[in-house]
């Protein structure tokens, strides 16, 4: 125990010395998020300093081994680091699909050479990745995907299109599922990595109901991908994809799925006023908000337990599906309450006071939470089959 206490003290001191004050403020806009990558423009010096400090220490990916850019921390130490960062409200130094999704898949399936080659730039935030899974005809039924890579000896020639590729227009590289054997549904997909600047790759933005467009259609037109750039085995990319989806769900559920994970009612006391008993002056909304708070604090406990169990291999492999389901449904509920609580102000779409309709846009964005990364219905199917062992295909 005392070793961990010493580590906590050390982390505290390090954070005190290295986390700039500006990085201890809540995230307000999209450009408060540090995504890294070849074309990323830092918002200010503090954002860059915070990333640099964390990179030097291995704290962008604290539980990865040191040779791959991590700090080699144990699960207990990682938990302490997270707790301490949360305590000072530190922003995440680097948000990245490379960290959340590709990294864990490479750690599991990559060759030693691939690990060294790809993981270090991910840890340093040098390459921004996007995920090329979904296709217009293949969403929930992902394994039906059609994008095809033709074997040309030392390379593949890839043709097809992907959809919903988050930030494809800003990404440097893509990790992509490509059919390489048309005869074999499950064992005919290869997990490929390639540069988005390769000849034949184009992207087209998709406008969402929130008025934002970080999502793209991605087209591949005779794209040449060297035969060295695959993960796992050729035609066995489905194993990698499944593993990675588990981590995507872990990320979604461990991170933001339940929203801010803080009490919601207090925030609206100003708008509604309080009655003589000090209660929010709309008894029905108060009750709904308080019931929501119970679920938020409960989910927070679940998040802690899930992480403790996941990191030590105690969790059921499909439990990330449950976390994803519960957390995303919860976040949608939060934003419904935020809209009710905000009243007519929350409806404003472009006023300066509402930061360009941040609440309304945020509310609309959350509707995707129960779709992206696998829909709620698909999560429930997986729980029913894999955890409850219910019968049927």
């Amino acid at each position: 125990m005392s070793e961990l206490d010493a580590f906590r003290t050390e982390v505290r001191e390090w954070l005190e010395a290295n986390c700039p004050a500006e990085m201890r403020e809540p995230i307000r806009d999209e450009d408060d998020v540090c995504w890294g990558g070849r074309n990323f423009k830092f918002k200010n010096a503090a954002q860059k300093a915070w990333l640099d400090a964390c990179v030097a220490k291995g704290y962008t990916v604290p539980d990865w081994p040191k040779p791959y850019g991590g700090a080699g921390l144990t699960p207990e130490q990682t938990k302490i680091l997270k707790q301490e960062m949360k305590r000072i409200k530190a922003r995440s130094p680097l948000d990245s699909f490379g960290i959340w999704m590709l990294g864990p898949a490479l750690l599991q399936f990559g060759t030693e050479e691939q690990k060294v080659h790809y993981l270090n730039p991910i840890a340093r935030g040098e390459i921004r990745w996007c995920q090329g899974y979904s296709e217009p005809g293949s969403g929930s039924d992902l394994v039906s995907l059609q994008t095809f890579g033709e074997d040309k000896g030392d390379h593949w020639v890839v043709n097809g299109s992907k959809i919903w590729t988050s930030y494809a227009d800003k990404a440097d590289w893509i990790f992509c599922l490509v059919r390489t054997d048309k005869a074999n549904k499950y064992q005919g997909i290869t997990f490929m990595l390639f540069d988005m600047e390769s000849k034949g790759v184009t992207t087209k933005p998709i406008l969402l109901i929130s008025g934002n467009s970080p999502f793209c259609e991605t087209f591949f037109d005779d794209v040449e991908v060297p035969k060295t750039q695959f993960v796992g085995e050729i035609n066995r990319g489905w194993d990698v994809a499944k593993y990675l989806l588990g981590h995507e769900r872990e990320m979604i559920s461990g991170g933001g799925a339940g929203g801010d994970m803080v009490s919601i009612g207090g925030a609206f006391a100003k708008a509604f006023g309080k009655n003589a008993a000090g209660e929010l002056d709309d008894p029905i909304l108060r009750a709904e908000m308080a019931a929501f708070d119970v679920d938020v604090f409960a989910y927070r406990a679940m998040g802690e337990r899930f992480m403790d169990m996941w990191k030590t291999g105690r969790a059921h492999p499909a439990s990330s599906n449950m976390m994803k389901y519960v957390g995303t449904e919860l976040n949608k509920r939060r934003h419904e309450l935020v809209m009710s609580g905000g009243g007519s102000e929350a409806l404003e779409w472009d006023s300066e006071e509402t930061k360009g309709g941040a609440r309304a846009r945020g509310w609309l964005r959350t509707k995707a939470n129960s779709i992206e990364g696998g829909t709620s219905e698909v999560m429930l199917n997986v729980i029913a089959k894999r955890i409850l062992d219910l019968p049927g295909a």
Binding site: V294, F297, A301, E304, L388
Partner: protein, 372 residues
């Protein structure tokens, strides 16, 4: 502390779970019920609990107990819940122990060893109306002679008619005071009522009951904090028991989904039922984590415990209630029969839901603690 059972706790579970399942499965409850048993639990079973050291789990070692925590007590309570085992464990070994250990002094010295040795059954006489409102205690304790005189009415006192001692919360001049009221005190009448889950709870009338000055648990007027400790422990314990009830109901139901055929298929193949079962699983897992978090915070004596205890009672209440409702529904007509156990789970859930504050009470507490 990580939020899963460590090796010692896992070992405890491995010994308690089969013990409760073998000695006191649901058929044990049925037997007591069908015999219209007047005690509310089996003394023989309590003796077996004692052999295993369970009654004194939370009693400090200095008083002859095992000095364990709420996390460990929760392990026992979950098994009690899963098997619908009638037992005075929650009121005696959790609620009363929390109050006595917090207060210390004469009454702790008198009762804690007796609890640990399995000799004493303790009742908690807190509530007065049909709903749990511990901030509205109207029972009075007035100084009389060398001690106090208690007047008032208490309701929903589990084991009140058989308890060797009842902890009575009463109003004194400067606050709340808790009293250890012995079984043979004059002026007490305990009128036991059979509840929907076949347990017995008493309406207790205190008509000029005289107790000695040293019957005070802790200090006069300073019972508020001790009462808080009692409530926190009992609520968390009830939540743990509800997780057991919900889990037991869910397990029965999932098993049934894999056995029952309709329309030429196992009903568990229908997605309409699969999704509801999967949703229930999620709610139960969250409830379990929440109860563990409350136990952890209580064991650490953390400031955040109070909030988490209410969250746990509310969340476990919601989840277990969903489990029993879905359980009966998914069993179809057979779930409505007395012969099937699922209905018994629904009844026990109803009683535990009401005990020490229902879901709405605790949701309201959560709002207050968050300043609205």
């Amino acid at each position: 502390m990580p939020l899963y059972h460590n090796d010692d706790q896992a070992m405890l579970k491995d010994s308690v779970a089969p013990f409760v399942a073998e000695q006191a499965p649901v058929s044990h409850l049925r037997k007591l019920r069908d015999a219209a048993d007047a005690t509310g639990f089996s003394r023989d079973l309590w003796a077996q609990f004692t052999e295993m050291g369970l009654p004194g789990m939370l009693v400090p070692e200095a008083h002859g107990g095992l000095g364990m925590g709420h996390m460990e007590a929760g392990i026992v309570l979950e098994e009690i819940g899963r098997n619908l085992t009638p037992s005075p464990f929650l009121s005696t070994s959790v609620g009363a122990v929390a109050a006595l250990a917090k207060a210390g002094g004469t009454q702790a010295g008198r009762w804690l060893p007796a609890i640990a040795s399995g000799e004493a059954i303790i009742a908690l006489a807190i509530d007065e109306g049909a709903k749990h409102r511990p901030d509205r205690i109207a029972t009075t304790a007035t100084r009389a002679g060398n001690g106090f005189r208690l007047d008032g009415k208490k309701g929903f006192v589990l084991h009140g008619h058989v308890a060797d001692m009842s902890i009575v919360a009463a109003k004194t001049d400067g606050g709340i005071t808790l009293f250890a009221m012995p079984k043979d005190a004059k002026g007490v009448t305990a009128d036991p009522r059979r509840l929907v889950d076949s347990s017995l709870a008493s309406h207790v009338t205190l008509d000029g009951v005289e107790v000695d000055a040293d019957a005070v648990i802790g200090e006069v007027d300073a019972g508020g904090e001790i009462l808080d400790a009692l409530l926190a422990a009992t609520r968390t314990g009830a939540a743990a028991e509800m997780v057991g009830v919900g889990q037991g109901a869910m397990d029965m139901t999932v098993t049934y989904l894999k056995e029952r055929k309709q329309f030429g298929k196992l009903i568990g193949e229908f997605q309409g039922l699969q999704h509801r079962a999967a949703h229930l699983y999620g709610e139960m897992e969250v409830a379990r984590a929440t109860v563990m978090k409350a136990q952890e915070l209580l064991d650490q004596g953390s400031e955040g415990a109070k909030l988490m205890v209410s969250v746990a009672k509310a969340k476990a209440g919601r989840a277990a209630n969903l489990a029993v409702r879905e359980g009966v529904q998914m069993h179809g007509g057979i779930g409505m029969t007395d012969e099937y156990d699922i209905g018994l789970y629904m009844k026990r859930d109803r009683a535990l839901a009401e005990y020490m504050g229902d879901v709405h009470y605790h949701i309201d507490q959560v709002a207050r603690m968050n300043g609205y």
